[in-house]
């Protein structure tokens, strides 16, 4: 676990530690089972073709959960995610598998973010962030916002 982040450590403009992710067809199947989203758009090539799309697409909800992990990793155990939102701007396509456990070479995604506001509300030390998911070409395919409560060093 990384060191705990404190409210005093950050300023407007501070970058959130990026989180790298690799979507694979295997991960999409795991996500389908774990989340209960069995839309064949995410695993069935013939269905995807009949729906007029080129290839299976990454679940929006999985990308959302990646961005939630970006925040929970960054704020650490003493931080609390208070608000979160995201919208989907473009589709993402998973890597295929090379072996039973290894993906083919290809795209890596990065969850990123920046602090946009730091403020006090009642007793809570809050931080607003702008966040997004970048595909292998550096294009933002999912964007959002988050508000977190951070602990303070001084008592």
């Amino acid at each position: 676990m990384p060191e705990q982040l404190y409210w005093e450590d950050i300023e407007v403009g501070t970058e959130i530690t990026p989180l790298a992710k690799i979507a694979t067809t295997q991960m999409l199947v795991r996500w389908a089972g774990a989340s209960g989203d069995f839309n064949p758009l995410h695993y069935d090539n013939a269905y995807v073709e009949s729906a007029g799309l080129g290839q299976v697409i990454v679940h929006g909800a999985l990308k959302r959960q990646w961005l939630i992990q970006l925040m929970t990793d960054w704020i650490g155990e003493q931080g609390t995610l208070k608000k979160f939102s995201c919208q989907y701007g473009a589709m993402d396509y998973p890597r295929h598998m090379k072996s039973i456990s290894e993906p083919q070479a290809g795209e890596t995604w990065y969850c990123k973010g920046k602090v946009t506001r730091k403020y006090l509300e009642g007793e809570q030390h809050l931080v607003d962030c702008r966040i997004g998911l970048e595909n292998g070409k550096g294009e933002v395919t999912t964007s959002g916002k988050a508000t977190v409560i951070l602990p303070v060093k001084s008592v």
């Binding site: 209960g36 839309n39 995410h42 155990e77 989907y88 473009a90």
Partner: protein
């Protein structure tokens, strides 16, 4: 124009859905994301943390039990709205997740029983060259077994009328 039988459901709520938050389901959910946070799977670690027990990642509300109730999608949608969409020619096969908003009030813990109620806050028609797209704004409120408010959720749920394949500019 949004068909009247759909439009009249603005403000309507579905029945209370109960979701039992299982430890194994939390672990599989975290594994599917590749999130190794010990708070989600290591009972001894979680006990010593400020939470005192295993918690779920924010955004996990007892899935995948929605699917077990008959829908192939993990979406909180009032049954009345679902059947109105089907009857008006907006089949479940042509849906896309447009976006999500959460406000978290309490952690979700392994063993919790969550009660979820979903309300149709608004419906909006989006112009498209191929026909009708309706965006549903669905608000879900989760309470736990002690009656405490756990989270509020706002889902943007995009539906197309028949013969409109999803487009590259959308997402799911």
């Amino acid at each position: 124009m949004i068909p009247e039988e759909i439009k009249k459901l603005i403000g309507a709520s579905g029945p209370v859905q109960y979701y039992e938050v299982e430890k194994g389901a939390i672990r599989r959910f975290a594994e599917a994301v590749d999130d190794a946070n010990p708070l989600y799977q290591d009972a001894a670690y979680a006990r010593k943390s400020r939470y005192g027990s295993i918690i779920a990642p924010p955004g996990f509300f007892g899935w995948p039990q929605k699917q077990a109730r008959g829908s192939p999608l993990a979406v909180d949608i009032p049954p009345e709205l679902e059947s109105a969409f089907e009857q008006a020619g907006y089949p479940l096969s042509l849906v896309l997740d447009g976006g999500m908003e959460y406000e978290f009030f309490l952690p979700v813990r392994a063993g919790d029983i969550l009660a979820a109620v979903t309300t149709v806050r608004n419906l909006r028609e989006r112009s498209s060259e191929t026909g009708s797209i309706i965006v549903s704004f669905l608000d879900t409120v989760y309470h736990n077994q002690t009656g405490a408010l756990v989270a509020k959720q706002q889902l943007m749920f995009v539906r197309r009328s028949l013969d409109q394949p999803p487009k590259e500019t959308d997402n799911a």
